[in-house]
Every structure is written in C-alpha cells, then in structure tokens.
Symmetry: D2
Amino acid sequence: MLMDAAGYRESLRAYRPRVFVNGQTVEQVADEPLLAPGINAVGITYDLAHQEAHKALMTARQSSSGKTVNRMLHIDDNASDLLSKLEAVRLACRISGCAQRYLAHDSLNALWQATARTDAQRGTDYSDRFRAYLHDVQDRDLTLGIAMTDAKGDRSKRPGAQANRDAYVHIKERRKDGIVIRGTKAIVTGAPYMHEFLVMPCRTHAPGDEDFAVCCAVPCDAEGVTIVARPAGRPGDPAAKFSAQYGQSTGVVIFEDVFVPWARVFLAGELEEGGVLTTSYATHHRHSCIAARAGFGDLLIGAGALMVEANGLDAERHSHVREQMVELITIVESFFACGVAASVYCQADPAGSVMPDVVFSNIGKLLLATKIYDMHRIAHYVSGGLVVALPGPDEDHNPETAASLSAVLTGRADIPYAQRAEVARMIEDLTVSKEAGWYSVISLHGGGSPEAMKREIWRNYPVMEKVELVETLLGRGVLDDGRRVSKQPGRCCATGCQVPDRMSPVQTAAE
Amino acid sequence: MLMDAAGYRESLRAYRPRVFVNGQTVEQVADEPLLAPGINAVGITYDLAHQEAHKALMTARQSSSGKTVNRMLHIDDNASDLLSKLEAVRLACRISGCAQRYLAHDSLNALWQATARTDAQRGTDYSDRFRAYLHDVQDRDLTLGIAMTDAKGDRSKRPGAQANRDAYVHIKERRKDGIVIRGTKAIVTGAPYMHEFLVMPCRTHAPGDEDFAVCCAVPCDAEGVTIVARPAGRPGDPAAKFSAQYGQSTGVVIFEDVFVPWARVFLAGELEEGGVLTTSYATHHRHSCIAARAGFGDLLIGAGALMVEANGLDAERHSHVREQMVELITIVESFFACGVAASVYCQADPAGSVMPDVVFSNIGKLLLATKIYDMHRIAHYVSGGLVVALPGPDEDHNPETAASLSAVLTGRADIPYAQRAEVARMIEDLTVSKEAGWYSVISLHGGGSPEAMKREIWRNYPVMEKVELVETLLGRGVLDDGRRVSKQPGRCCATGCQVPDRMSPVQTAAE
Amino acid sequence: MLMDAAGYRESLRAYRPRVFVNGQTVEQVADEPLLAPGINAVGITYDLAHQEAHKALMTARQSSSGKTVNRMLHIDDNASDLLSKLEAVRLACRISGCAQRYLAHDSLNALWQATARTDAQRGTDYSDRFRAYLHDVQDRDLTLGIAMTDAKGDRSKRPGAQANRDAYVHIKERRKDGIVIRGTKAIVTGAPYMHEFLVMPCRTHAPGDEDFAVCCAVPCDAEGVTIVARPAGRPGDPAAKFSAQYGQSTGVVIFEDVFVPWARVFLAGELEEGGVLTTSYATHHRHSCIAARAGFGDLLIGAGALMVEANGLDAERHSHVREQMVELITIVESFFACGVAASVYCQADPAGSVMPDVVFSNIGKLLLATKIYDMHRIAHYVSGGLVVALPGPDEDHNPETAASLSAVLTGRADIPYAQRAEVARMIEDLTVSKEAGWYSVISLHGGGSPEAMKREIWRNYPVMEKVELVETLLGRGVLDDGRRVSKQPGRCCATGCQVPDRMSPVQTAAE
Amino acid sequence: MLMDAAGYRESLRAYRPRVFVNGQTVEQVADEPLLAPGINAVGITYDLAHQEAHKALMTARQSSSGKTVNRMLHIDDNASDLLSKLEAVRLACRISGCAQRYLAHDSLNALWQATARTDAQRGTDYSDRFRAYLHDVQDRDLTLGIAMTDAKGDRSKRPGAQANRDAYVHIKERRKDGIVIRGTKAIVTGAPYMHEFLVMPCRTHAPGDEDFAVCCAVPCDAEGVTIVARPAGRPGDPAAKFSAQYGQSTGVVIFEDVFVPWARVFLAGELEEGGVLTTSYATHHRHSCIAARAGFGDLLIGAGALMVEANGLDAERHSHVREQMVELITIVESFFACGVAASVYCQADPAGSVMPDVVFSNIGKLLLATKIYDMHRIAHYVSGGLVVALPGPDEDHNPETAASLSAVLTGRADIPYAQRAEVARMIEDLTVSKEAGWYSVISLHGGGSPEAMKREIWRNYPVMEKVELVETLLGRGVLDDGRRVSKQPGRCCATGCQVPDRMSPVQTAAE
C-alpha cells in the first residue's frame, strides 16, 4: 500500500514518541507547526509516487517480493535503478529542498549487502531477518530515520575507552529474546517525524569494541527513546517564501536501555561486516546526496533567472550575468554527472544488488560539498543588492510606508513590486537565511567530511593501473606490442575496472 | 570633544527621527533593543579613541584645523594616514563585526576632493562650505549615514525618465535660502542611529538630469525624513553569541520635500563633479571595506582555531586542518595586502589630500567580495558537524535532557560542554545565521557589484604601458638600449604610475 | 578489412601528397622521421582493434552495412555506443597522448545526421551518397583529416566580404560532374598522414555566402592540395621520453582549385544544414575530447605517482602529496563523468543515430579546457624540483661528470638514478616541453573556445523549466498539488529532457 | 665602480671556470652563444643602473660604507629600501624575463643578519669578515651565484647519514688558513656566468651534522669547481621571439675539495645560526620572487593585449576578453600587493637592516607559485588558436607557400601578417615553449615548495592573538571594556605585530 502525503501525516498519529523541540515537549507530531515543513518535505516522496507523470520514476518493482514499492525503499537491481533513484531524489528535492527519505534507501541497500555478506562469512541468518523487515517496511510504506552519527565524546579515544560509554550507542545487554541498547546518536535527519530508526554504526571498530558494532531497527516510540530536535525550516515566518513550507529537522536521539528483539537486529558484534555496512552506506548515501543537491541547484537556477528578469536584466545581453548563470549550471550538472557515471559504472554485489561506483560517488559528493558556497555566491551575484535593500515583510503592511516603498522599489514596469519582492525573498530564504547556512554545513559535512571523501577516493582509485601504463610506455613492461596493456585484464574503462568485478555499461544496456 | 560609546548613545536622545523597524514605530532610538547591537558596534569607534593602546591609531590631527579628531572623520594627508585608517577600521571591525562609521570617512574624503574640484572648475565656494561643515562634524564627533544608493525603479531608464521621479533623490525646488529635495535612498547603513545623513549621488548623470546631481547634509530628524529599517543583528536571541551584542541595521530613507539650507549643500547640478564625487567615494569606500572584512576574517580565524581545539584536533598534526587554516589566512591577508598597497601607491589630490590607488583598492574589494564564501566554507570545514548537531540553547535549560546531552557532547575532557557549545554557536552566528548570509551579500555587492570593480580595474590599469614594453622588446620601439623603456616618464612602479601623478613610496618615506 | 598499425603506415605509400614540414618538402610521408610520432599515434587505433583484450571495445557493427568496423569510423546507434567510443578514445589516448583519429568519427556522425536532414528538408540524395562514402571508408579502414577551421582573415568581416576570398574555403565553380573548391584551412589535425580530408564549414553562414557552405571529401593527394605542417611530437630528441615516440602534427591545408566529383560532395550551399552539420560535429567532437584528455590524465596520474615514489615520498604518509593526487583524479574523473552523462542522456536523431547530450558534452569540454592548467600544476607539485635540477640527457654521456652526478642525484637507494631521471624527463615531456604547452592550447581552444561552449550551454539548458518550477513553488502556477510540476511532460531528468526528444537511460537499458 | 652590461660581459673573461653545457666544454663563457641570453638578462641589472630614468631606483647608498651600489647588492635599511628593491626587480624582470641577480641581494641580506647574530651569540667576528667581503663585492659590482640546494640523495636520511656524503656540500677539512669543502649543489641559477658562488646551507641541521652547516664565498673558477649547466633560453631559435634574447641557465655545481680561506667563510658549524641564515634567505628571496614574477606578468599583460588587438578583438566590446584580462591583472597585482605589504610591515633586525614580513612574503610567493598556471591559461584564452595554427618560422621563407599563407593568415587589414605572427610567437615563447614550462616549475618550487610556504605561514601567523580576541568577545577574558583587547600590547596591525618587534608603517614614514 503506497501512502500519499496526507496518509503519511496521519500515520504518525499511531506513534507516541517522546519529542522535544526548542526545549518544549511536542504532544502530537502530526499537528506540531514547528515540524510541519519537515513533514511536508517527506510527504513529497509519497505524493509523487501517485502522480501519473512521475509514477514510473518514483516507484519500482522489488525483485525479492515482486511488489511495487516506493523508490525510496527499493533495493537497486542494476544501473538503471541507480539512475532512476538519482532522478527521483533530484525530483523530490527540487520541490522540497531536501526530501530526507532517501536516507532510508541508502541504509536499506547497505543492509541488503552487509547482511548477505555476514551470512556468507559466518553462516548466520541476518539476510532472512532483514528481508522480512524490508518487505514489511515496503508494505507499510514507512519512513525510516538513520541513527548513525554517534555523539562521539573525546575523539582521541576509541568508543570502548570513553569515560562515558553512552557517547556511542552500544549493546548493554544480550538477552535470549533480543538486545538492550544504550547511548546517543547525533544529527538524525528528520528525527521527530520518522516511523522508525535504523540504528547503525558510524565507524569501523577494533577488537574489544564488539558491543559498539550494532545495527537494529527501533520504532520511534520504543520505550527509552528520547528525541531532541530543532524546528524544521522556518515555520510561520512571513519572510520564508520557501522554508515556511518545506524544511528539515535534525535531532539528537537518546537511547536509554532500549530493548530490541532479535528479529530487528541486523548486526551484533561482527566487526568486519560493521565496516562493510558503514562503507556501503556511505557510498549509497553520497550518491543520493549528489541528486539531492542537484535538486537544490534547480531551485537556485530558476530563482536566479527570475531575479535577473525582475531586475530588468537579460542574460543574453548582459554577458557577465550569463557567465555567472553558466557557471552555476556547470557546477550543478558536473557534480550530477558524477552521479550518473557512478550509476553506469556500478558494482554488482554478491547479494544480487548493485552499488554505485565508489570513486565517482565520492568525487560527486566532494564537489557538491565544496561548491555549495560558490552556488550561493553566484545566486547573490545575479540577484544584486535588492536582497538586502528590501525591508522585511512586516513593512509591507505598514500603512505609513508601504505605498511609497512599493512605488520606488518596483523595477520593470510590467513586474509588480510584490512579485519582485517575492522573488528576492525566495533568494534570501534559499541563500541568506539560517536555513541556507545550515544547508551549507550539511552539504559540506553530511555523509562524511571532505577529508573522508578524499581518503576514500585515494583508497579506491586504480593508481597502480596507471603506474603500469606509464612503466609500459617507458619500456619497462613486456616488450611485444600486443601485450602493452596486458596488465589490464578484461576491458579498459574509466577507472580501470574489470568485467568480472562490475557491470560494464555495455552489459547494462544489453540485459 | 571626542565622545565615548556611552556619550554617543546619549547624544542620540537629542534627535527625534521618524523610524520604523519591523513595521513598528521606534519611540527612542537610544533605548530600542532591536537597534542596540548597531549602536554598540558604532560605539566601538568612540571607545577605542579613548583607550591608551589604540588612541594613536584611532585619532588623527586634522591639518586644516589643527585639532585632534576621530580617525573615522579625518581627511587623509598622506600614505601613512591611509595605512592608519586601514588598521583602525580592521581593529574596530574585528571587535564589532562591522563598525559602520568608516563610511563617514569615505564620504568626507570624497567631498573634500570633489568640492575643491568644483571650485577650481567653476569658481564656486563649495570647499569653504564643506570645510566649515567638516570641522563642525569633527568637533561634535558625529556619526554620519551615507544616503547614496537610490531606489532606482526601472533600471533601463535614466533618473529623469522614470515614471516616478522619487525613485531617485532629486532637487525638487531651488530657493534663495536652500534647496528642497525629494526621493528615496535604499540600503543606508546604520540609518536609524546616525546623527545626520550625507545625501550623495550614486551614479553619473547625463545632461538633463542636473536635478539628480545633488549632495547635501541632512539631520536625521529633519522634517520630511522617514527611516524604514531592519533590526541590527539578532538582538535577544540566546543563540546569537556575537550578533546579539553587535550588529548592523540598514534602512530605506525616504525624503519627502526636505529643505536643506545652502550651507549644507555641496553639489547642486554640477554633472561632471558629481561623477568625481561618486568615483572618489567608491575608491575610498572599497579601500575601507578591505579593512572591515579583514577584521571579520580575524574573528573567523580566531573562532576556527578555538573550534579545532574544542574538537580535540591539532592543526600541527592534522595537516588537512592546517591546510584549511592557512588558506583562510591567505585569503584574508592577501586582500588586506591590496589595501596596504593601495595606501602606499596613493594618489595626491590637488585638494591636498590623498586617495588610495584605484587599481589596488578595486582588486582588494573584488577579492573579498568573491572570497567571503570561501571563508565561510573554510570556517565550516574546520568546525566539523557540531554546528548542526548541537540542539538550540533552549535545550540547555531543559531539565529532562540537558544533563545527558552535555555528558555525551563533550569533546576533550578538559573543555567543558558549555565552552564547546559556545564556540560552535559563535561559528554558527558568524557563518550560518541570517546575519552571516546577510554579510555575504553586502560583501559581494556593497560598494558596487563585482562587475563594477572589474570595469574600474580595466579603466585604470596602465595596459598601454605594458603594450609598449612588449613592442619595445619586439624591436618595434626606438633602438638604442638607453631608451628602451623611455616611454615611461618618471620612475617605473607597480602600476606604471608616474611621479607627478601620485606619491611614490620613496617620497612617502622621505617626507 | 581492418588494418593494423604497420598496414596503415604502408597504406600511406599509395598517396603522393604535397607536404612541407619546417619549410622542407617531404618526399615520403611513411618514412619521414619528423612525422613518425604522429603515424605511431594514429597507428594505436589500428593495433588495438586486433588485440583480444580490446577488440570488443575498439570495433563495432555498422548497422547500415552489418559489417564490423573500427570504432573510430562507426555511426553510433545508442547510448552504449557512445560510452564505448568514450572508453575507446580514452584507451587509445592514454597510450598515444592523442590518437587523433577520433575526429573522423565525430565528422562522420555529424554528416550522417546532417545529410539525412538535408534530404528530409529538400528531397536531395545526400544521405545515399554519404552512406556509400562511409561504407567505402569503413571497408578501406581509412584515416580522415578534418579540414574545418578556415584561415579566417579579417574576423570582423563575413566570408563573402573578405578582401581575399581564399581566407575561407569555398566553391569556386559548380560543374556538371562536380565542384571546384578553393581556399585555406588551418589547424588540420594530423594533416600530413591522413588518407583523405573531409572539408567542412567551420561556422554558420548568412544568405549570400552559399558558396562557403560546402562539405566534401578530398584525397590527400588530389591535384591542388598543399599541406604545410609542423613536426609531430619531438622526434629524435633524447630528452623526449614520450613525444619522441608519439605526437601530433597539425597543418595548414591549401586548396587551389581542387576538383571534387559530386559523389564526394555532401553539402553545397544549403545554409541551414551547414549550421546543423557544424553544431552536430562540435557536440560529437567535444564529447570525444573529454575522453582524449582523460587519457592524457591517466598518463599524468601514473607518471606523478611514479615520481612521488622515486623521490622517496609516500602519498599515504605525506598528506599534502595525497591531497594533490586526489585533486588530479577529481579533475580528470569529473570531466570524464560529464562524457558519461552525455552518453546516457543522448538524443536520438531522426537519422537513426544518437548524439551526445549537448549540455553535458559542452560542460565536460569546458572543464577540461580550463583545468588542463591545474593538471600541469599538480603534476609539477608532486614531482618536486628535480624536473629543473636535472641536467639534459647529453650530460648522461659526459664521462667527466656523469658518474658524480648520478651518484648524488639518486633518491631512494633502491631506485637507480637512471630510472629516477627517466621519470622526471617523462614528466618534463608531458608538462614542461613545447609539446606540453601546445597540448594546453589545443585543450583550451580545440573544438571551439570556452566562450563558445558557455554560449552553447546557455542556449541549450532548460532554464525555463526551472523558472516554472520556482514559479509553481511561489504559488504562481496552477493550484492543485497534483499538477505542481505538470509543465514537465514525460519524466523529469537531469536536464529537463522529455522522452520523445531523447533516449532516457531506462529505455537505453531496456532495449 | 658600477659596470654596465658590456663591462659585465667583459669582466667574465677574467675567470676560467670549468663549464659544461649540453655535455660539451665551454671554452669562453663570454662568447658562448648557448649562454648569451643569460648574460643579457643579468646585464639588464647593470645597464638600468646607468639610465637616468631608473638610476635612483636601481642604485642605493650602502649605509655601512656610504658608497653608491647596485640595488641588487644593497643591504636594506628600511621599508622604502624593500619597496625600491621590489620595484627594481620587477623593472629588470619585465625586460629580461628573469634578471637572476636579485638572488645575490637576498643572500647578502641574509648573511648580514646571520653573521651579526652569530657574533652576538658566540663572540665571533663573522660580521666584520662579511662586511669586508660585502664591500668588496659592491665595489667590484659582482654578480653572485647562490649555491644552496644540495643534491640531497636519499631524502629520508639526514645529511650526515647519507651513503654518499657528497650529496650535501660539507666541510671536509678544517685547516689553519681555511676550510676544504666538498659536495654537489643543484639548481644554481645562472651558474655558468656568475663571478662567484655563495655556498649556503639549504636546511637546518641537527647536532652531529655540524660539517654541513657551512657558508662561504668561492670564485667560479676556484680549483675543484665544476659547473654542469643547461643552455640559457632558446639561443638561435628563430621562433623564440623573446628567449633567444633573454634567458636563464641553471646548473649543478660540483665542489671537489675546494679550499676556502677563512676571510671568505661566514658559517662553519654553527647549527642554530645556519637555521637563521636559511630562513632569512628564504624570506628575502620569496619577497624578491614576487617582484620577478610580477615583471613576467607585465610581459604577459602587454603581449596579451597586443594579441587581442591583432585578432581584431576589443576588450571594451568583447566582455569575455576583458573579463580574462582583468583576471590576469588581478592575479599579478594581488601577489605584488603582498610584496608591498611585506615591505611596509618589515621587521627591524638587530643587525640594523630590515627583513620583509614573513607572512606576507610567503603568501605572495604561494600565490604566484600556484597562479602562474592560471596566468598561462588566460594568456592562451585571450590569444585564441593562432598560436597553434601558425606554421613555424621556417615556413615564412618557403617560396612555395609563404605568400599564400601570409595572405590568408592576416587578421585586421591594418596589421600585417608578419606583425601578427610575431606577437603570436611571443605568446608562444612566453607560455607554450619549453622555457615557459620551465618557468612554471621554478615559479612553483623555486624558493621552496608550496608546502614549505604554508608551514611558514602557519608557524608565523599570530593565531593566538585572534583566539584571544574571540575569547574576549565570548566574555572569557577580563571584564572591563577598556581592557578588552589588552592582550595586544602596542598597536594592532595586520598580523598582530607589536611596535618593538618591527617597524610600523607610521614610523617608516616618519623617519
């Protein structure tokens, strides 16, 4: 059953989570104005799945069940699925700013891979458990919060060496019927309006820290769960042309001795597979982030073009404005292209699903992380100074000044003051407000810091293959021409991959 | 009489301006909480002039009167004055974010040059009038608002061709005892807490638009003046670690048939000298902006270093953090260096004062305008994700969550949670909040758009001198070695200047 | 019949072109040492087609004939073909620096589209003619030179208004059996060792300039053809570790009353289709350039890593070196990703073939054009100063100094001096030599200037679609939620394309 | 006695150095065509000192002797001297590309500081010795080569631990009358046409490596000295419009048991002062490099503007060309501004001389090092494709093609082909040739790698002063307002310096 946005909102009433926002208790999440923009944003992923124009993109057939599910909950079978997810996330985020629910996709796909791996290595039955859970989530069309980043405490000490063990979520007790977990997760996207949390490790663990390698599913209102969140967007602010409607809350989630039955436990001390899970999630998530921020880019491009028009300028004639718009387009589409390439050069997993190419995914995320600031710069450049010249919306209703202000602040005669002001406030909302600054930080640090991406690129790039190429050209390799590039088995491709290891684009197209 | 900050605040009570903030009438500016951060910021320029450590820098001897005046109101005599102004502005802005009052300096210096020029060209007595006004302002130690940017209306039409002439401030009537002005100025820095406004033209004018070439001084509470302003900073916001204390208001100032006696009129229809005034102001102002944003850079560098420490990192050992800090330093000091060079290569004006070099001033402003975004990026980079992980300050006082949050969000054991949170909120205030976004926009567009700076650089750079150099090397010039560079009269310097036209550094040092 | 490199070289003996290099007549192109590196580079595209490991990539089935042809001469049927061409070009260029022959591919594909269009518009039979020519070229496995950029003369005048009409190649005479062309083409890649030239227009033409809208095929030794070329690479230079072996010649080709029979004429005055031809070629070519320079990037990455090793550094431990290597990888793979995305989002042509997406192709080319300089910077950064410290290779054989130099210039004990010097000279050859500088310029300007790409991006980007998105969010569009994005018919994708206009990735994969 | 260029060349005949170029013995340096461009470039510094227009800049009064000396050999007394040196170096390098002789200045100034320091610490008489040597060098108006960078061998081992001690120059024997040195120096600028070498340590040394902390003066033809050099520029190459005339040789200098009398020894085992000497030289040299590359920038700006003109374009009308030219100007003048700021904020040394500010000097050098590549990019951008379209100069004299080529390759009717070709070849010489690539590498690595500069910036920047500023603003400092910034004794300036430690600009101007 695929819900729509209204259904999703109503479905939250079935839960009774303990939620604080701005230090106040939230009685009913579904009715809380401070959270409404976040619920609206997630709701977009539900509504689009019902629209004729987008149904094919926003849903998918889950091959393990044969059922049609929301694309945000689907396990990717091939490169086309990855491309579709990319487009689906961009579509949802260009409307909502950030639709948040794609994190569920990223986590479910990582778990699909990691549980299969654990079973193969250790003869466990995690993948059966997980498949049952997955199908249930898909059937109920849930939204899942990813509780991954631990509070961390003293970063120079490993989890098990912290003075306060609660700085990392861990298994406090293993019981016959399940586990008891404890600790705090920070920066949980959309925390107050999720149906459930997927608790995941945020780092690899060394022997001795087995209790910290834990992954499990917890309903948002399980006993012992407390959610401390920020408001989503700028609810009720008349200047917030966009973020009064759509926004994102993040929260700290405190787990105080929460019991989780085994059927909902997907990792419990397996150190190596914990690392696989973390890395796989990071790759899927960075790939999704590319699309999310491309959607934000679409908003900026559109708003920038409207602002240029309202100022009476014309990108055709004013080449310095066109130059900027083209730079904005170049930034957005070049990082999006990395997402496309990561899809095309995806890696087939033994679990039967695919993972985006690690190098392209990390490069795309690295580019968006550092270039979001340039995107703001360009938006400001093409908008001119009106964004700061404009008095606040309260002034629009001041009978003593409103008329004379609107008379002189009109630009082109055919665009009324109200319309010009509206676009300027949209730009302000997207690039000047606290929400804008906040998006910058999560663009930079969300899914890992730039340094983490650089290390991952270096670790995965086939540098040795290029070294061998140069050595061959220097005559250090084998001599006969036919064997010049013979160290590259299979066919050559972008990152020196080999046919057995990943799906080549030709195969993708042929299947 | 040099006032201190308290005296400045009290002095505002002598005025009764018509001020609206957020659509509400402000009864008493000196007591208005929404404006307090702005008054505090301007106040810094008053207090520093009394501190032993800074007195020498923050005051200067006005050579036309022999009196000691606040550096923000001083007419620059030489390169050393320009360097001192640069340092004084940086000092005041590193404490206040933006001390605003340097705009008075920029305008007074431009008027000093322009009125002398008008008199020389036309035999008028503007410079006497202006000198009397200047000395009065210095004696009373006033703060002046610069009412320059017009509302502009339809940008494709010149001022005189606007459907609504009030889109530009203009002379409505010339009377025996003075003029009557009318129109609206936008983006007036610090508008509600200025003693007076200097009304200045914001562009050059074509014949027929003589009424728009007007410059005059108007008390803030002159009859017919209305100020519509935004709050200064984030007054009263507990999360605003900096901008609850210091901030900046901007306002729209509406002039409705305001009478100005001739003694306060400094330009009234002289088209050519209006252009000189505008350009000279732009050069002085861009030079000052360099110092202002370098002061903001000091805040970011300090806050960034504190955040690195609070996260338990060390720029010595973590080279990717050091790399970023060095990039931040490089950005700030390289645009500041342009301010220094502009001072050293200043141009002596026939009026007896000096003007910073146009090319270096514009390059410095262009660099800060576009690199403020990189400064934010770096501040976010070195701060990590805590800025978004941290719940709001209300949560600090929530008895149900505060203890467990502070327990797990502590980083280094020797830095308490409250201290770490405080620094994170300082970074948020400086780079994530609405104030931060707002500073970005005024950094980019304040003092003219980047395109305006590029045009000014091109217009003033001695390209032909370099062309002649290359032609000489290609053998196209005169032949004998001694005359190789003979097309450069005087001595060669950075921008190909000549001794008679500007003060060379050697002369500066020798005087 | 697919030739190999040796066969290709021999096949050149069948022609007797009039060729000058360095002002000297070349008697036999196949034996000319100054051209050998160019012939070697093109030869790579022949040899790879015979190697087991690369055969599948380097050949393709021409659907109009059913024959297997070299990928460099193939008409692309679908997205997979475009991806394969991309990989094939990268493969050939990573070995040869630049294999040159892909220009034939770009031109043949453009002609396939343009001739079909002309026939559809005008009822001509150009596509039949062209298909016959294409199949002949494929059967004989030829290499074609693209004679496109005219000498141009005075750029402020159109071709027909030039004082000297020969500044542009044009139809001098139309005869019953063919046309006579005249004029000069500049910058013809690989000119002296091509079998034939495809003469193409380099710009759109206005009415009155019909004679300049001409496209035809001319054997390299047709009567009236003169080729004035530069040497290919650095033949015979002992310091040229790479470019003594592989290089590229460019030439000016002068056509003095050359007769071309109608069977070889593919455009003769059709102004509009001349524009289509030029634009289509530009898109295919920019797409290919992306892959070519990615291959060059592979060389730099490999050589850089070898140099780091020879200097005794380690990218794992020396993070500033790793930082640079990751930046190099990021540059190369992000522009390559644009090529991948252009393939995936290709546009189906009525002629039955596909064209890479214009926006992504131009963005990729724009990025490589401007970032080739950063690639050099990084290669120098990671290589250190040895590149300039090293005496020339002559010194290696100077008995008075060689021993003591090699003793002190050895770095790591396990890497002999000769090996370290060899890598340093490889870096010098790739990034310091004249060849290196030359590659920079053609990276920047080849296939059109950056400004041309920016204009093409702006002209083709669906800005209005983004404007409508924002207008809808501002409530200006239709009201009910379901129709929010209804202005986007079909499915949404990266550049707002619509299903009927181009092949969506899902369709690609499904076929 | 100040020599002129001709005198300098003749003076070389008095020496009989053992020099190899391209593996061949050079009999007479003054007559060797392969070295002539280097001798010409150095000669510029001699000739300019005699030209009326530049005499004041190119000479200075040595305060310790009262004599007038060439600015390239002068010890700087104050900020004005540093500014004059900056302008003098820019002037000489804008004519010669790189005049090389400023390295003598950098080294002499470092020795002035270091020898005084050694004497103060250890009661030695190095400064007397050095002063005598300095005055002799000034009197004879010599050119000194700086033999600093050692061959280095295995970089993971310290000098004393090398398998081959000759990888670093060291004291092999201490005798009553002097020392015997041995080892190899790499990358000695202008090695074959220097009068003497100043042997200097290139790094700090740990105890046990005292023999490697050696500084002394050695005539170029001292027994045991061998110079292995590359040609200077591109002598005799008809395409080399610039570098056939002016160029730079670098050489390896091998010292095989060279005896140096004590009067010419300025450091002999004093570890700490060796570090001071190295660091001081680095600062002076980086400061000079800024001016040298600004001179190169002048050449590029001039040549670029000529090329734009020859192509028939106009930076006024073609804004994308102006945009590029302004970017080029911005790059050049912003790093030059750092040199100006380093002069103004110079540090007074106990030895009585001044040293440029370390932070500004390093920032300026860092900027030029990384932006030289952007300068090439822009030069190529504005020049268009002619640089690669143009056949070589041999073709100009080919009677079969010259006429038709010049006819069609003429651009603007009023600029003859020869003139356009000449400018294109000038651009090629400056930015495409091997010389161009070579200048890029020495811009990047000369005077230390970018990483070395970043470390030096970090080590010297007053970060703690900014930390204290923020702590004070956060209320952590002392409470009363007057003492807010009290941790900054003296006056505040750009890099938080204090009056007693360096000369403030105000003081500079006042003296």
